[in-house]
């Protein structure tokens, strides 16, 4: 008996019990749909993050105090006091490979505007921040060297801060807000960065103002620098490292007491964690796929028992053990593949539904193929035992079965 014949028999048998067949596949349908939708969600989030990070600019380098493994720099932020403000201020003049330098000090503070208030991260930095971080403005502009030199009480609002303090999208430039009860004039509002790291919940002000008014710390938490035009990241990093090591009087062989991270490192870390997140989602979803497979096995066992007499008849008419096995295996695979097909459709539909709610979801071909392949594999795996039970039946006993 060939495969086409087996398929014909399987389809006839399944059609004879349409409702049960459909209900049996439901588990696989839901499993496959869940895997596809979950992976789409995970992949969408991953792409969002990539896009957001790419927006920050590609020639950006970060230096943080203290030792940290490459890519783990976020954990080290602010943890050590090895990068004095005065040193950061000299980088631009003494390291020619570097074009812009934006050291950052930060702390949280209570912010008020009228009756509205909130707790936000306040960043003190230099005017270079504007181009080092490729800032874009919703309203107004960044502060200047004059503001820095004059220690003026001016600030730039992150998008989320603006939304919070000016809930009706009001004009903020020129308005006075209070940070720790000290009045500041708003110079501008940054556009939305979105995504990772709560980049929008920030208020940026001149470093000098920050140190005088909020926190007279002598050490920076982070320095963001950009390589000069025509100098690649690695060269800029090497030059800056050499310069910093000399400033810190580190002997050859002694480890750095600061760490670097490039945009790419951050991208890698974030991608790694979102990849794990995606796998986790897929893992949870595939549990339902396995449950669906068990459902198929259950029904196939029932089917084999119900059709014991049919098996006896077929054996009497010349079916070999493997013909019967193939017949029932084909049935379970047809069930699971059919369920897989429906599941793919449902999964894609769900992903689109999620998209229409504003979340990013991306259905990749590989996730569709994987889920569909798993469904077929589950049909074989969970159909094998019932099928081999069917094949083993003794023809006489099977014929006598009532």
């Amino acid at each position: 008996m060939n495969l086409v014949e087996g398929l014909r028999i399987a389809l006839t048998a399944l059609a004879a019990n349409t409702m049960r067949s459909v209900l049996t596949t439901l588990g696989v349908v839901i499993g496959v749909a869940a895997v596809i939708a979950m992976v789409a969600l995970g992949t969408g989030a991953q792409r969002d993050i990539q896009a957001n990070i790419a927006k920050l600019g590609s020639n950006l380098l970060f230096v943080a105090p203290g030792q940290a493994e490459r890519g783990q720099i976020w954990r080290a932020f602010g943890s050590a006091e090895t990068l004095p403000v005065s040193e950061a201020m000299r980088i631009r003049a003494e390291v020619p490979e570097v074009a812009g330098v934006a050291p950052e000090l930060n702390r949280n503070a209570q912010v008020k505007y009228g009756s509205l208030n909130g707790d936000f991260r306040i960043v003190g930095t230099l005017p270079d921040y504007n181009f080092v971080r490729s800032a874009k403005f919703e309203q107004g502009k960044f502060f200047t060297r004059l503001d820095e030199e004059g220690r003026r009480r001016v600030c730039v609002l992150g998008y989320a801060v603006w939304e919070r303090l000016f809930p009706n999208g009001g004009w903020a430039v020129g308005k006075r807000i209070k940070i720790k009860s000290i009045p500041f004039t708003v110079l501008g509002v940054l556009t939305e960065r979105g995504g990772y790291g709560r980049e929008d919940e920030v208020i940026v002000m001149p470093l000098s103002t920050y140190r005088q008014r909020l926190d007279n710390s002598r050490y920076v938490r982070l320095i963001a620098v950009t390589a000069r035009e025509g100098v690649d990241n690695a060269a800029a990093e090497a030059a800056l490292r050499k310069w910093l090591r000399r400033q810190h009087r580190l002997r050859p062989g002694e480890p750095d007491d600061f760490s670097f991270a490039s945009q790419q490192d951050i991208l890698n870390t974030v991608q790694e964690s979102s990849r794990i997140f995606t796998l986790l989602l897929a893992g949870i979803a595939s549990i339902s796929l396995v449950v669906g497979g068990i459902g198929i096995m259950n029904i196939m066992l029932v089917t084999v028992t119900e059709r014991t007499r049919e098996i006896g008849i077929r054996k009497a008419l010349g079916a070999r053990r493997r013909d019967i096995q193939l017949q029932f295996l084909t049935e379970s695979v047809v069930l699971s593949v059919f369920g897989g097909g429906l599941g793919v459709a449902l999964g894609v539909w769900l992903a689109n539904l999620v998209k229409s709610f504003g979340l990013n979801a991306y259905v990749s071909t590989s996730s569709v193929l994987l889920a569909f392949g798993c469904a077929a594999g589950i049909g074989i795996f969970f159909g094998y035992y019932p099928a081999s039970q069917a094949g083993k039946l003794d023809p006489i006993q099977a014929l006598r079965y009532e």
Binding site: N2, V4, T12, E310, L317, G318, R320, I396, L399
Partner: protein, 247 residues
Amino acid sequence: MSESPVTAARATLELRGISKIYDTGAERVAALGGIDLTVQRGEFVSVMGPSGSGKSTLMNILGCLDRPTDGQYFLDGEDVATFEDDALARVRNRKIGFVFQSYNLLPRTTALQNVTVPLKYAGVAHDEQLRRASAALALVGLSDRAHHKPNEMSGGQQQRVAVARALVNNAAIILADEPTGNLDTRTSEEIMGLLQQLNDQGVTIAMVTHEEDIARHCRRIVRFRDGHIEHDEPVGDRRILAPRREG
């Protein structure tokens, strides 16, 4: 008793010292106690005997559905008692057609589809399956019921479908265990007429029956008692039925 190469030319079925013992744990039942039986090509044998005398056990062994506990069974000269399961399945498919008391058609499956089943396991192409199944249904006079399902047919019609299925793969032997057991007299005669017709065309037939009237349609009667052959004689006053052709 001659050696098998010689008998192979003459005999279709040959049993030598066949015994079948059922060991249920509690007791050992000797369903067949060392049977010698030869059925020549083209014979039409009726097996009779009281209930429990071993008739069905014999038919199952003849049909390669079951293996004897001891003894040799030559089918066309081959000792099939030594065959593997798959080889036995092949023998059932190519040489033997079964007709059961309870018809044993596949439910929810049309007459035509039922008749194609042996052809599927013989690897016959789909179109050819339908052609031969239609021809077999025509032979039993059921062309107009080809697309009816078993529950839409009378017992006699179902049994004729079963006969069509038994002969569709050109079986040389038809084994029938009480084929008329569930049928009334008129329908029983229909089936017997059909079997006579097939036998006239050279098909070897062995059937079990309880009724002397039915057995009289055959050429030879083998009587069983307690797993042994008690009598084995040709039918003296054989009843010949004119072949019926109807729908």
